[in-house]
Amino acid sequence: MLISYNWLKEYVNIEISPSELADKITKSGIEVEMVESLNKGISGVVVGYVEECIQHPNADKLRVCKVDVGQGEVSQIVCGAPNVAQGQKVAVAVPGAVLPGNFKIKKAKLRGEESHGMICSLTELGVDTKLVPKEYATGIFVMPSDAEPGSDALEYLNLNDHVLELGLTPNRADCLNVIGVANEVAAILKQEVKLPNTSINTSEEKAEDFISVQIESLEDNPYYGAMIIRDVKIGPSPLWMQNRLMASGIRPINNIVDITNYVLLEYGQPLHAFDYNRLGSKEIVIRRATEGEHIQTLDDQDRKLKDTHLVITNGKDPIAVAGVMGGATSEVQSDTTNVLLEAAYFASGRVRAASKDLGLRSEASSRYEKGIDRNRVYAAAMRAASLMAELAGGKVAEGIVEAGKREVNTYSVKMDVSRMNNLLGTEITSEQTASIFKRLGFGYKESNGQFEVNVPSRRPDITIEADLIEEVGRIYGYDRIPTTYLLSEARPGGLTKNQAQRRNIRTYLEGAGLYQAVTYALTTPAKSTHFSFSDEKVYPISVAHPMSEERSTLRMSLLPQLLEVLQYNRNRSMEDLAIYEMGSVFINRQEVLKDLPEEYVFVSGAVTGVFNEHLWQGERKTVDFYVLKGILEGLMGELNLSERITYEAGEIENMHPGRTAIVKLDGISVGFVGQLHPALQKDLDVKDTYVFELNATSLLEKETDQIIYQTLPRYPSITRDIALVVDQELPAGDLTTVIQAAGGALLKEVNLFDLYEGDKMEAGKKSLAFSLKYFDPERTLTDEEVVTAHDRVLKSLEERFGAQLRK
């Protein structure tokens, strides 16, 4: 909402500057987002009188004018505006003047003719072209004839004004008009509000002889009032009114339309003026539109209506969409003489429906949607009618033809001063409270700190005690509220075990060289199902109204987005990357989503290109499967899960079929690790890329063993190395498992330390070397015991896999 400082001053006495005022308004509850000076750096612009205006001898499009710029001084000015003419009062930038953009005016010669200054258009004076009245849009602005040559043109044009831009929260629709803001300012500055004069000398004629009003549903339209103003003369509205409209962001049209807009801004009451002679009947009927009914609106668009829309009709056809826009047929035009003025209260739901469906949001519709002051409708109608009489020479017929109830009863809300002080932490007295209510213009009764406050109809946001407490608090001043500390008993805060573990996972992965990424949860429907490792049927979850296909469906894996990150970076020539993300994925097993989907925290990583590098030592090692597996093994150690995790070769869509392992916890799949499918790598145009994905929720919900100290070995251990020849396809993990089982209690560690698959081996065979460590914490082992255990191991290996000791 734009509020003119000068206009505001008409209703309330303000003795502080616009910026000081803005500061006070902001502090007491309505944020002033900006204070804009309408003077965009202008100086030296005066009123001039065009005494003479003749064709430029050397230029078709130029005129040479003699302009009286005050104090008897007449300057010759060359002007290119098509509408300049003798006898006009105009704004003249004299030599030495400065226009917006620090444009300095100097004496000049234009096509051989001296020019001492410039006659200005409103645009040249910094007014937004969209707001300039149409007749002056392409030329200079013509000022009223009573303007005094030589005087400050900015005063006439109200360009010394300031505009306050209010950022209104939805509860403060009462400040969507100048009088509403005046009430607020009056409360802040301890001043009174002076309301405009709405008295009218009505004519002999009676409005009811011209029109009848009928409402079909009082729920859709609780009140409708129609006034008749006869014999108006359409013309421009006075400059002061045009200035205020422009300052508020509205383009002046003609006096009648300007008056409806002016009163809209002043009272917050939307009004509409119909050309009475073009109504097509002598009755107004307000009803729902029929489905598919048409109306041509003021903007000459043909609109198709729905039965949720409310229309004003002449008993037969729609002549306006209620609260949204008037019809073209009954529009006020230059030949209009008789006006029907509509002042109504339409239900916000009806206005919202039509304005949304038709894509028409106007100053009027947005006010109906946010709620207007029911008890101000009549006063606004009187104000507009009186202005039509005053400024358009109209004769106002006696009375207002109405349907519905003109006013509603106000209500009261109770407030207890001690409860208020308990909530705010203050010691505000009953007297102070009473004076604040007085300033706000709220009626009240009080006894022993119990207030009963009569809420004015302009403040429907106040319904409960807390609302009144806020009113008192904000006018009292939040900066006067003390700073205290919670009285409640101190309890320790802290992370849950799960939260702490999630932090550990992040810290570990960062320590392992991975950077954390945060990506979007919404992706494309196709990508949403990639890398799924769920056995059950899952259904993608799409939002109903996505902003784009790219961001339409919830992810079931973090990997598609991490791969996008790799691509993004590769496109910027960064090809060696190691990243991870921890975030939610959404799994839905319902064909139709009725209950909330399952949400799991996943932790996933992607590493591509060089991982270990030491340039001058010539080391440059690209990532491989075992780099990622090593990272995961370390992570499982960190989570105290190492013993329960297994890695089994497996297949996942979009993964390399021979380089992927399913990660299992207690035999249940919790993720995978491996290389991207080469076809996908090619599609993404990335180097060999290895990824992992783990369901952290599943990992962390398992109870892990409490750490118990193991005594340090006091007796020596015995290590035996074996090199085995086995079939090439045999996974090393299978050998380890058998060795561990056969070794018995004395075998404490098994480590694979060599793999040989070279040409010294028989075809189809490979050699694996293990180091086995035996010991007993209680005593020194005998050779015999070790030999027995070790033989058991060798025997099992031979029996199970035909493994032979390598010679």
């Binding site: 509850g29 929260t169 939040y478 805060g493 945060v518 979007y520 996505p546």
Partner: protein, 344 residues
Amino acid sequence: MKDRLEALKVEAIGQIKEAQDLKDLQAVKVAYLGKKGPITEVLKGMGKLSAEERPVIGAYANEVRDSIQQELDKKQSALEDAAIAEKLSKETIDVSLPGRPVKKGNPHPLTAVVTEIEDLFLSMGFTIAEGPEVETDYYNFEALNLPKGHPARDMQDSFFITEDILLRTQTSPVQARTMEKHEGEGPVKIISPGKVYRRDNDDATHSHQFMQIEGLVVDQNVRLSDLKGVLETFAKKMFGEDRKIRLRPSFFPFTEPSVEMDISCFKCSGKGCSICKQTGWIEILGAGMVHPNVLEMAGFDSKKYTGFAFGMGPERIAMLKYGIDDIRHFYANDIRFLKQFKNA
């Protein structure tokens, strides 16, 4: 005989001094002190001496032997030191060459900010509450005093999945869920960080996905002045001890009274600059006293219990703190961006 010994001593010491390496030295040692060396030879001739002379010469011979041995030891350690010094000089490396890089990633700046805020409130006795990102209309709106058709729902255009299920537009549903779990018994003292979603076009200042951290305290006798105390502690810890805070009245459907908190600008300390848009104040968060309807809906007696809530945007705080000019940087994950937050 004594002269002969004396001569041997001088000769031996002379050769010791001339030895170039340990090998030379060993040769000298064998030559003079060995079993077939001249001193032994001299001692063999002692039988010819008188009984008075014998012990004198014997003692003298031992003396000579010891002196030679001493010289040998001295020379040996000198030669050893020289050998070590030479070896070390050959082992010298160029310490100016770059070291082996240690692989180390770092948190995303949003995580860094969230963690810092979490730790701050944990130290004030808060716990962290979490909830689903896909929420019901009830928890996201209705339980927060935003019934269907409420105009404030316009303020946050939402991603609905079905009529009753949507991507949460705020982390406040976690507050509603937490209060409900407490079954009307205080105190509640939580913060809830998390991702939220709104139907916005992504641009420099808007993102359809962003983070929020909200806080909630419900107990008997919780006052607006206590909120001021908590927020002031937060602002000073987060933005510097000399920050001032300012509460401005505002509006949120789930609090009444509602406030917005500004901090004095950390760049210009209130004089006015581009960061604070010349006002000297920077808007940091929204807060307020929990609306009685919200308390009642969650099963708390609003006559007995009061509470406050606050909410802030980690993106905004990170942008202010690090001078980041475009919110999209957080979600593009340009590695050159991510690497800048090493010790965030």
